[in-house]
Amino acid sequence: MGAILEAKDLHLAFKGVKALTGVSFQVQPGEFFAVIGPNGAGKTTLLNVLSGVYEPEKGEVFFLGENLRGKSPQERARMGLGRTFQGLEIFRGMSVLENVKLGAELALPTYPLALPRAQREGQLRAWAEEVLDYLHLSPFRHAPAGMLPYGLQKRVEVARALAGRPKLLLLDEPMAGLALEEKQDLARFLLDAREEWGITLLWVEHDLRAVLELSDRVLVLSYGEVLYYGPPEGVRKDPKVVEAYLGQA
């Protein structure tokens, strides 16, 4: 099997501001793929294009070999393309358990009518509890998600996305605002999820150290253009990246 996700020559501009120009890359199955770049580089725009919130003006996205053009975010989610957001986009009024169950619906989508509701709900609960346990969220299952501290809310969002058993999970700055210890925990969870459930990960992140340590390959964006695309070791050596991102040494 080839790439799980392929972006071909993506272009998108907002009233003349070029957010993406000719962005192409491939993500291989099982990879931990990072997208980095200075503020305003188009990282979040790229994720929005991949998950279907925006439609690119030019270029195509292929997921599992299928062209995603015209597919709505919810269709993409059902195909196995998960997503978390920068900042907190959890369902604040719902309990942690309900958040995760909502995500878990995607993991059992095919027999909505075959099972009696109670039994289905029981199955959903069992799977949701597994995810909660895995992310150490079980003690908070009935707490309203919006009442939890920031770090836990971020983890709820990751749990919600993981519960859907996506084939590819797009993470938008999952570590922003977390303490070092929380970052290490999250890195552990993500690597384990990849190991155990075979989830391919694509993440946008500002913490360079974490990115270079954890990722298999890195895409560097600046003003919507690809500056670098390759293994993490090369990032610090690439003169263009050093100039645009790391600053003059």
């Binding site: 975010p73 957001f85 009024g93 309900e98 909502l102 859907g164």
Partner: protein, 355 residues
Amino acid sequence: MYPLAKRLTDAFSHRYARAVRETYGEDEAYASTPLGRLALGVFLALLLLLPLLLGPYPMYVATLVAIGALSALGLHLLVGGAGQISLGHAAFMGVGAYAASHLTGPLAPLGILLGGGIAALLGLVLGLPSLRIKGVYLAIATLAFQFLADYAFKNWEAVTGGIRGRTLPPAELLGLPLDTPERLWYLVLLFALPLFFYGKRLLATRAGRAFMAVRDNDLSARVAGVDLVRVKLFAFALSAFYAGVAGGLLAQLYKAVTPEYFPLSVSIQYLAMVIVGGAGTVLGAVLGAFFVLLIPEVLNSFVGALGPQYAATLAAWRNVAFGLLILVFLILEPLGLVGLWGRIRNYFRTWPLPY
């Protein structure tokens, strides 16, 4: 001797008095513990026997509150559940009432269902603007519907009887005329119980989570695989169905339908029920309906007790007192009566050792 007694009491407490759920399945199920089932049974029996316990006037009020609670639940699913707003709830009740007024007598249950169905179709239509607009703008769109419906009620004489409205012969169930509130109560239960059960389960399962996801964060909901269009339209149609059924029942209770029963102020009254009752639960809808429909009755009898010479002055103050009570709720107990009930329950659950 002791071990046997202990074993017996243990077996008893495990079998019957168990108040703790032990599996995830039980935690998901409704009334899963024996104690919970007992409470539910007693409650249902009480509902069935209520006409034997209460006199005609309290029974009239009870029927009114039950119908109000049913309608409030519908609005509650839309507002508290899916986070949409509607100022046209009374209009949907009116649609249900007029539709039901055309099929009465032995066909009354059918007429009430038909009213719910027509209201649901109109709800679907009213749901369309919600796909584009939110909040205050949506409120204005639903307000327009309320006024349109009001106009139709007054002027579409062939169907609504115009200003004079329509009168209904009493409904019949199994050949028995339901001409008193005591008898009509059972027709109300026939519709309200399944709809309450459905509403409660809805909020605890897939569709309910989709509702709340749309309420809390529609962008995130889409990315989590929720179909916004379907959820919003379903929420509007469902809410209108509840209103339509409640309207049909109300027409049976009043034995008449006129445009005055369903003005904008009633829509707002129902929104007040949702707010006072508290968001998120079915219990909230019931408590809100109790409060909003009963307090005026209580204040009325209070005014009556003071003597007729004060009636006119105090009638105005009644509205002020009512408004003040709602304000007090908004400020002191934003979670509504449900929040209050939750705190009372937790107090007794841990009593006498709260720590």
